[in-house]
């Protein structure tokens, strides 16, 4: 079946849920094309597929959000993680997020250049996304992208720069967040200690071959212990790695897997995903109608609980419906 920019509808050229679920890269790519599509009819079509995928894969896969300041070596680290995951027989989907230009809305998507992998391996999928939506529009596509990838692959890596940027905040879509820094990153530790920065699930000091690494690692360890709030919760660990030398990689995946087990064991796994979904839905409503609008509709908490009562209920069509309701309301009041 020939692909075409025009025929991405639900018609003969559309990506099927089954194909995506079985990890067929072509179908996954087509679905990404669709979820980035701003045209109203495409959005509706896409949302339906996304909800199906959401429900079908709610307990599956593992989304690792990998963030941290530039220069920490995240891309190289991810390159190694991909390779290690494949060695463990896991399929991997990756989203690499780069910033869009404010002036032009264009972007240089240059993270994937650092990922070294066999281009003919059907078990690795990498998609680059620019983090700012142009033309306004509803969806935060990164979240949608992570839903697609977790439906299609065993392990999902999402790479982004920084600490808590609105559109690409990995904490709002990841099961496990990794924060990667390089030796000597004093500021980050201060943020952690002061509680300005939210605690990740795992902190990695990369470039462990550098002389300051051990010192930074110790500082991170103590900063994490200081910041710990709830004794019963997950205790974030600090790890060292060297992406260039390939050390510490297995430990990172092991620790991430341990975190997933912890989440599942405490029931947090599904709860966290549900929180993400609700948050995504409300955030997009806010983007469309402002906080007043959301209040009018009942407030974020009530909306979240009412529209997404069960873990398997996806937020996509729910958002559509709320949007339609609001449009009617707004039209009615201005009539």
């Amino acid at each position: 079946m020939k692909d075409s920019p025009k025929t991405l509808g639900r018609g003969p050229g559309a990506p099927s849920v089954e194909d995506v679920r079985s990890g067929k890269k072509r179908a996954v790519a087509r679905l990404f094309n669709l979820l980035e599509d701003r045209r109203p009819e495409k959005i509706r079509e896409c949302f339906a597929i996304l909800d199906e995928l959401y429900a079908a894969s709610i307990g599956d896969s593992h989304v690792l959000g990998i963030t941290g300041p530039p220069g920490a070596g995240k891309s190289c680290l991810i390159s190694r993680l991909i390779s290690e995951a494949r060695q463990r027989g896991k399929t991997v989907g990756v989203i690499a997020i780069d910033p869009s230009s404010r002036r032009s809305s264009g972007a240089i998507l240059g993270d994937r250049i650092r990922y070294e992998y066999d281009a003919t391996d059907p078990g690795i999928f990498v998609r680059s996304m620019a983090n700012r939506g142009d033309l306004g529009g509803i969806s935060d596509r990164t979240f949608a992208g992570s839903v697609v990838l977790r439906a299609a692959f065993d392990l999902v890596l999402v790479e982004t720069v920084g600490v808590g940027q609105a559109e690409s905040d990995v904490m709002d879509l990841a099961d496990t967040t990794l924060f990667v820094i390089q030796p000597g990153s004093g500021d980050m530790l201060q943020f952690l200690k002061a509680g300005i920065m939210e605690e990740p699930d795992l902190m990695v000091v990369n470039k462990s071959d550098q002389p300051q690494a051990r010192r930074t690692f110790n500082d991170v360890r103590s900063a994490l212990h200081t910041a710990r709030s709830d004794a019963a919760a997950w205790a974030p660990e600090a790890l060292m790695s060297s992406a260039t030398e390939g050390t510490g990689i297995t430990e990172i995946l092991d620790e991430a897997a341990r975190h997933r087990e912890h989440l599942v064991g405490t029931g947090e796994f599904l709860k966290r995903r549900q929180r993400h979904a609700r948050h995504w839905m409300v955030r997009n409503l806010e983007r469309l109608y402002g906080s007043r609008g959301v209040e009018t509709m009942g407030g974020s908490e009530r909306l979240g609980e009412a529209c997404l009562p069960d873990p398997e209920t996806g937020p996509f069509m729910a958002l559509e419906r709320l949007d339609e309701q609001m449009q009617i309301k707004v039209a009615g009041e201005s009539g």
Binding site: M1, K2, D3, S4, P5, K6, T7, K25, R26, V28, A29, R30, F32, N33, E36, D37, R38, R39, K42, G71, S100, S101, R103, S104, S105, G106, A107, I108, L109, G110, R112, I113, R114, E116, A119, T120, F125, V126, R127, S128, A130, D134, L135, T244
Partner: protein
């Protein structure tokens, strides 16, 4: 009192004519035998030294039959896979009488080993060898792209060559710190000075700790440079004079080099090729002459060796006649003019001195900045240096596009008569022998059969051992050369131990220069917005370089401009296999693929990509190609389904962006 001077009368000011610089031409193609013939021909014409151009597989440590070498063998230089090839290359050229410069970097240790082994086979004592291995790996990360290993290991190899030759081949220049490529990548004179000196500093620093002062002095004295010269004559003279002062200072202050002779700035030159045009190419001769003057006029800062590009640089490889023309230019300047008969003619000039001071200050500022980052290797790793270069290049391109910087024949005075130089059968430049690759591979396979495999295996084991133990790589490589180890085997052994490397692209932090024509940019931006709306999502393009050509400046500038007109650019960088290009294009859902190839291997590489696109049912994604592509190849590519072909004539990048939009628009119309 000098009496000579060709009828100019007696003069107390003139002196005996200085011996001229070494005259070379950068040459090599097809096979070792063909290159050998070319060398002997050039030497007979009066060339006084050799400058070997190696093909890309050799430069990146691959044998001619490696998958990545396909289409690249013998294109931009000579393939040297083994001592057999090296023997042939210097057949009837006694190495104890020759001065050979080899443009080789990542595998410099290997090619030098082959050269030494070849000399030994000729019965020549290696101690007497004269020449240069470029061996400047740091600039590869910044401009040429023919690096293999990560910076740290590359520096170790560089050191090994230096320390070996300082002890064993005293007249050999173990490296040429290159500012040449920095200028080609867009560097300003101050950047050329600063970055090249920083590179030198990085290497010297790494040696300083491990040798005594006497060796340090000798080593410093063996550092030579490979410098560029642009058509801005006065600036270039000042830049070269600044080089001599800064180098002298560096030797004295940082390394305690006592001998004045050792602190002398020695350099070879190839003049600027970036500014040589495809339009009205005959104009390039005037440019070449002006650029050569810059490096020979100031006696105190004169080049030791000069190699000149040919007038048809932007069209393709030079034929022997083209190279002859450039050689004659050197000979006329040396033998017919009186430049070599006077002491330095700029000493005492206020203007020159002021500009020299200015450049030195600017360079020192930049050098301090690099030191702050942690030195050259760190500045490269973090992408700082690359970014600065990409920025300067963007400014230069913008200035040309806006007309602020005049390039005769390109953006001004563009009317031309039909050129008799281009009307010949061959189109005005050299075409490589299409059978050369096949012949080379056959010979290589035969050579492998003829070797004593046991000796080869032993040599490789010793090589790996020396690497692990941190021993100097030269002795064990020379033995490997004699044993018949091939370039690819040497390269693979090191790759296994050191790993491979991908250098930062410098593209991320740069944006289109403010000198760019704003209205045109804005107009294209609007078209991109409109098309994106129609597509439903942002116009997305993949830009990359298949094959081994690492000259990424053009591709980078295009990526930056594409981003600035609103496209999402998946920039995949260099050394891409067709599989990777197709896989990335598919995963990323791009609307257009842009390939850049300057090595001449465009037909085979693009052909492969198009085939795979078809097999993957992705052939409705249009492909555009840019590079050094002759007209009939252009026709062939278009026939095979490439949507557009861009050559150096298409310098207006914003125009190209508009073209990209048109290409995608028409692909929509013709889609099923």
């Amino acid at each position: 009192m000098s009496e000579q001077g060709n009828g100019a009368g007696p003069s107390k000011v003139r002196h005996e004519k200085d011996r001229p610089w070494i005259m070379r031409t950068y040459a090599g193609y097809n096979t070792a035998r063909a290159s050998n013939e070319l060398y002997r021909g050039n030497l007979a014409k009066g060339q006084t030294g050799l400058s070997v151009a190696f093909d890309l597989p050799t430069q990146t440590g691959y044998d001619s039959d490696h998958p990545l070498a396909a289409g690249e063998v013998g294109k931009v230089g000579v393939p040297i896979c083994s001592i057999e090839d090296m023997d042939l290359l210097f057949d009837q050229i006694p190495l104890n009488q020759m001065n050979t410069s080899m443009t080789i970097n990542a595998p410099a240790a290997w090619l030098l080993s082959l050269y030494i082994a070849t000399a030994e086979r000729q019965g020549v004592d290696p101690k007497t060898l004269r020449g240069t291995t470029q061996n400047d790996i740091l600039k590869e990360y910044l401009s040429r792209g023919t690096y293999i290993f990560p910076p740290e290991h590359s520096l170790r190899l560089t050191k090994d060559v230096i320390l070996y030759t300082v002890e064993n081949i005293p007249s050999w220049n173990p490296l040429n710190i290159c500012s040449y490529h920095l200028q080609e990548a867009g560097a300003t004179p101050a950047q050329e000075l600063a970055f090249s000196l920083c590179n030198a500093r990085a290497i010297l620093d790494s040696i300083q700790g491990s040798v005594d002062q006497a060796t340090m002095d000798k080593t410093f004295g063996r550092f030579s440079f490979f410098v560029n010269s642009s058509v801005r004559l006065v600036d270039e003279v000042c830049k070269l004079r600044a080089f001599t002062r800064l180098w002298n200072e560096l030797g004295l202050e940082r390394y305690g080099v006592k001998g004045e002779k050792e602190r002398r700035f020695r350099y070879g030159v190839q003049v600027n090729s970036l500014g040589l045009t495809a339009q009205q190419p005959e104009n390039n001769v005037a440019r070449i002459i002006v650029e050569t003057l810059a490096v020979i006029l100031s006696k105190d800062a004169r080049a030791r060796a000069v190699q000149l590009p040919a007038w048809n640089e932007a069209l393709g490889l030079p034929r022997p006649w083209d190279q002859q023309w450039s050689l004659r230019i050197q000979q006329i300047l040396a033998y017919e003019s009186d430049i070599l008969e006077y002491p330095d003619i700029f000493n005492g000039s206020e203007v020159i001195e002021a500009r020299v001071q200015e450049l030195m200050e600017q360079a020192k500022e930049e050098m301090a900045r690099v030191e702050e980052i942690g030195g050259a290797a760190a500045a490269i790793d973090t992408g700082y240096m690359k970014q600065q270069l990409v920025k300067s290049n963007a400014a230069r391109i913008a200035a040309i596009e806006s007309g602020e910087q005049i390039v005769v024949g390109v953006n001004k005075y563009t009317e031309t008569e039909p050129s008799p130089l281009l009307s010949g059968v061959d189109g005005g430049f050299f075409k490589t022998d299409p059978d050369a690759e096949r012949d080379q591979i056959e010979r290589l396979k035969a050579f492998r059969e003829s070797r004593d495999q046991k000796k080869v295996d032993e040599a490789l084991k010793d090589l790996a051992g020396a690497l692990e133990k941190g021993e100097n790589i030269m002795p064990v490589s020379i033995r490997a050369a004699h044993a018949g180890v091939t370039t690819g085997e040497w390269g693979d052994t090191l790759r296994k131990v050191f790993g491979e490397y991908r250098s930062p692209t410098g593209v991320g932090g740069v944006s289109t220069s403010d000198r760019e024509k704003r209205e045109q940019l804005e107009a294209v931006r609007q078209r991109v917005d409109a098309l994106s709306e129609k597509l439903g999502r942002r116009l997305k393009v993949l830009i990359g370089k298949p094959g081994l050509d690492g000259h990424s400046n053009g591709a980078e500038q295009i990526a930056v401009r594409a981003r600035d007109v609103g496209m999402e650019v998946v920039y995949e960088g260099i050394r891409l296999t067709p599989d990777r290009i197709v896989n990335s294009a598919a995963d990323e859902g791009v609307h257009l693929i842009g390939l850049s190839i300057l090595s001449g291997s465009h037909l085979s590489l693009v052909g492969e990509v198009m085939e795979r696109m078809k097999a993957a049912e992705l052939d409705q994604i249009p492909v555009v190609v840019g590079g050094i592509i002759p007209d009939d190849d252009k026709e062939e590519l278009l026939r095979r389904g490439v949507a557009r072909v861009y050559t150096p004539k298409d310098y207006e990048i914003t125009q190209m962006m508009e073209d990209f939009v048109k290409v995608v628009e028409s692909s929509l119309l013709s889609a099923v």
